[in-house]
Symmetry: D3
Subunit: 132 residues, 6 copies
């Protein structure tokens, strides 16, 4: 049932953005929700992320904005902050995006996201060799 190209392309795209971290996150879903894992590869990374209308840096920016606004998905936000640093965002841009979202989703959303970014940055500083 896999769409072979999109599945393989998506897996490569995900690895290019997130490194091992991203692969492991989706792999953790596989034993319980294999169709959901497959759709993340095929539909999210093999289809949407493959279109060049927005480059990966911009896709990362809008993903961080959307996850900050939703408020609850802090684990996904942490992954996309890591990914964003891999595709051309710097820490200041990420934090400014989060601060900007306080206007539209309120301070708690922005504060939680900023604390998540703080944790990711601290982890990266403690393990500087981890790059995709």
């Amino acid at each position: 049932m896999k769409a072979p190209d999109k599945y393989t392309d998506g897996k490569q795209k995900l690895k290019a953005i997130f490194g091992e971290h991203g692969e492991n996150a989706v792999a953790a879903l596989d034993p319980v929700a294999p169709d959901l894992a497959r759709q993340i590869y095929e539909h999210a990374y093999g289809d949407t992320y493959a279109r060049e209308t927005l480059n990966l840096r911009d896709r990362s920016l809008v993903t961080i904005a959307g996850l900050t606004a939703l408020g609850y998905p802090q684990q996904q936000l942490a992954s996309h902050i890591r990914g964003g640093l891999n595709v051309g965002l710097d820490r200041e841009e990420i934090v400014e995006t989060i601060t900007h979202m306080a206007l539209y989703a309120g301070f708690p959303a922005a504060v939680n996201a900023a604390l998540t970014a703080k944790d990711v940055f601290a982890d990266l500083d403690a393990h500087p060799q981890e790059t995709p």
Copy 2:
């Protein structure tokens, strides 16, 4: 101030669906928010859940869908996944409901719910004797 029949009926209904787990969850509220605990028995389980227009299997299905879409109530979702297994849902139906919700609430909502289901299933496998 308790409506005696609905209160008692609701308590029995809750126990029938969730076993000891459910009773303990509501009992934990009692010392801090006794009216909220009472309303869960009377209004939720003694009134809404008592109506037969939807059977308990369908009520469990729609509850899992709604909690997945809301995103933040992972503790309640875990309880309703356990309850769903007790009233006729199988694991595949629960996971498919969660995967289905990715269409309407996005991948992070579905991924978080799938990881909650994974934890519940693992706990049930580790303690197979726990039934209501």
Copy 3:
């Protein structure tokens, strides 16, 4: 770039559930967001809805639950109420699902959804010949 089978299958599935209404709703997206329209056919109806773990009646039930809980998508909810009636739900089950969601998403979510259902039912009563 279309995945031919999923695209065609999804279009048929959508028509089977919603009739002309559904096709027109997605067609309205085509001039502005053709990739989004394509993904609704391929990913939503050609992939998720195609899996048989849940039948169409159950998929409709959980979709109505999720849209009621999210609160804002009343237009989509109206479509899925029409679709639900076409795949085996009756009006009482739809209204009971909406009433059930008051427990998890609050009364305003349920009241708005009930008023949307009321409008759909009135429209169907006024145009009884409209069937898929």
Copy 4:
């Protein structure tokens, strides 16, 4: 199936807060979702609103805050702004509550709520005789 005292008490409480407006709003639900209408009387106004731990002015204040934060229920917010004016809030307190919520739910939530308040105030100024 009605809990007679709570049902009757709730209906009176609702009328005391909202006047004819409130009764009509719930009555509009009756033909489509009679159990939802009944629960609004019995559970919301006959039980929660009946407790004296918070007076009606404070209940109105927190309801306006919550509905502003949720963002989508503008129709309910309009009703509760009318109701709030009937139970002791003045326009400045209502607008300040809405402005305060911009901190926690963002500017769009507060702007939409302020525009709803503007409409209610304009309607009241145009029809000054309408009191409960």
Copy 5:
């Protein structure tokens, strides 16, 4: 009580992004919620938008993403789509941002936002002379 520089700077920034449209939107708030209107000038446009860590094109991109994810603020989304076109986004980037958000907030959020974009684009095509 106005912070003179931020207030004036914010008003100019808002006009630079949105033209007359933006000024009128905030002016509509003034009679009912003057502090909220003032804070939009001072805090949103005179402070956050004034920082150069993100340029206006990127701020518009993340705002469109966040508003799409929240789902309910379609009026604000329409304004920011107009503004985005004024600060360097093209229609394809806006639609792709909206399509991208389907991954994180679901199809209804993206479909509603795409229909809002469609309306804005149609209005701009019908009144091509309206530029800031």
Copy 6:
């Protein structure tokens, strides 16, 4: 770039409401998101909270209501429950506000908030000397 009076006033207001707890929470943001921390002082506590249209007890009440309705910001809710007790709310009023919000945001929102309140109250009982 700091607005000196609002910054200093906001810091004092925050300390008056929350004591050391509040200061530490904002200070934790400083190394990662200094503009967000500054805006919390200047905009939230130096501007909105400084207006006397609502007193601090009422601001606390509506904040607890809004955070309960949003569901995800339990850390902020815990702070505002502590703060509310410092500015004139008693435990019963806080719990009743949370219980009231079950009507508008559903039981999971209210249950999570009640459990957060339970934790705060238990911590205060274990460390009774902690006052601002």
